[in-house]
Symmetry: C2
Subunit: 365 residues, 2 copies
Amino acid sequence: MIRRRIGVLGGGQLGQMLGQAGVSLAAEFIFLDPAETPSARHVGRHLRAGFADAAGAATLAAACDVVTYEFEHLDLPTVQAIATTTEVHPSPRALKIVQDRIRQKEFLAAAGIAIAPFAAITSAADLTAAVATLGTPCLLKTARDGYDGKGQRLIRDPLHAAAAWAELQQQRCVLETFVTFSRELSLVSTRGRDGAVVFHPLAVNHHRDGILRLSRAPAPDVTAALQTQAETMARRLLNELAYVGTFTIEFFHVGDALIVNELAPRVHNSGHWTIEGAVTSQFENHVRALMGLPLGDPAATGHAAMVNIVGTFPDRHRLLALPGVHLHDYGKTERPGRKLGHVTIVDPTASGLEQRLAAVLALIE
Amino acid sequence: MIRRRIGVLGGGQLGQMLGQAGVSLAAEFIFLDPAETPSARHVGRHLRAGFADAAGAATLAAACDVVTYEFEHLDLPTVQAIATTTEVHPSPRALKIVQDRIRQKEFLAAAGIAIAPFAAITSAADLTAAVATLGTPCLLKTARDGYDGKGQRLIRDPLHAAAAWAELQQQRCVLETFVTFSRELSLVSTRGRDGAVVFHPLAVNHHRDGILRLSRAPAPDVTAALQTQAETMARRLLNELAYVGTFTIEFFHVGDALIVNELAPRVHNSGHWTIEGAVTSQFENHVRALMGLPLGDPAATGHAAMVNIVGTFPDRHRLLALPGVHLHDYGKTERPGRKLGHVTIVDPTASGLEQRLAAVLALIE
């Protein structure tokens, strides 16, 4: 059976790009989103409802063969309710684990995956004890709803720990050792219904103000051993979760090793380069997995870079006049810190890529 | 000014692929189409109306910044009426010329473009005289509404000319000398609002039963001189028409020369390979031209082949399990001779392409 009618919780840019990919496979989308004009509305039906709206969720479930989501900060009982009538992928179990940093860290630790030392913080006493154990500097992160660097505080001195937690409204948190890493790498994988897993090459990510600005893929200077290290971890986690769909792991690269920073149960900004830079994109493979179709070749076709457009949009004429620019405009109004679009460039050579990238960065930055 | 709201007369697979490309540029589409479930309905609004419905056309014109079309067999007065209030590209003048084979041939001849000897047939006397002048074999084609080999008769003997014309309901026709060619090549170009023109590499096309089955691009054994010959003709025609948008020329390759077979004022089946096989696709460049944006690089990124899926759909699991297959499913029900979808494969080497293509053809043919 091919599941054509796909419901998506969230209708932002990830939904937009899922929809674009899915149209080629004759998938039909309904995007549940409370926004009036979500980006994805042009590639499917828009069901306007809140993410915790039981009636909206029931409508979506009834109209679809399978339901997925484009972000993890969802109301779990609503997703679990959908799953009582309609397949949900990734599963509510995967969502429950990944959407909560405490559960996520405990899951990773139990699976024997390398992570930074951490402690769950649910009281002032937890915090005092954990800062003493882990030492400073350390990072305090809310267990829920963090993204783009939001919901985090760096603690340099134990004296400031209580104030940092107060700034985060004393929510449930994890405290983790501040890892000194050489770079951040991410691995986007997809697992099919049949258990087959495909891996894109590692990408290297550059952030500013907590927001991803630039990814290069395949990341330079990645040995076969390093790629294998990443894939081995991903395969273990995906199998452990009986996962279906696309999955992203952000790693810290420390020496020759990878430490998992965090997981995302979805297509990911650091995998946007795959639309033009890989044989099969993360979006198409997620849709293939949902539909129960074989996964496509995740290999890179050249050297790719992806640059986010954040806050303000550069002049579109000047941008599109640059050679080889692939623009993805999310159709959003400008707002500081908001991801408005991205540009991908692919070149057969690393030096050619850098030349083209410099021109793009000069315009976007 | 960037024209975002794009109206399209026709909502078939070409509209579907235009929409997919346009979403990335934040274009918004309305597809006017009388069908209940046209392929393009998933990538924009569907305005259900007949192509000669004045009210429907007025609604489309009022809602859009620019109107285009995905096929040329349109009611010209309706298109001209739209153009009184809203920009139409390609222009009604271009449409008028191209949609009628007599006008098209006369236009080509007047522009000094190489074509097969032809005659306009509007009476039995015309036909008798023309068959005598051109000799046999010759081809009789209706002036209007021909596609996929429909509306054509091969005349091998002057005695059969009248019967052939009767089979075509004695419509206005052109009679043309039957050209013995080594292959059919096509050139897809786009002209921007600023007059800039870009050309994809020539593709070589293979038909069966009058329907395109396979295109390879860049076509093998195309010298720089041959590509230039094609581009020179295209540029002359595009400039002469003050054309805006994508334009296709089908050529017969005869010896070292190209003879124009026919024109299409639109994106074309023989250019579908550009979605995955060129830096910028024909669809994106048509949208860029409509929006008034700079055109993108039309160069090929490797060796590409496009195979049409006609009549019946192969098993999707087996098809997508083949490495490097890019499927475009138009979401149509099966019907003999109907184009249901296509597959594109791109490979860095010509031999790699042939290997992959053989596996695809084994499944589709």
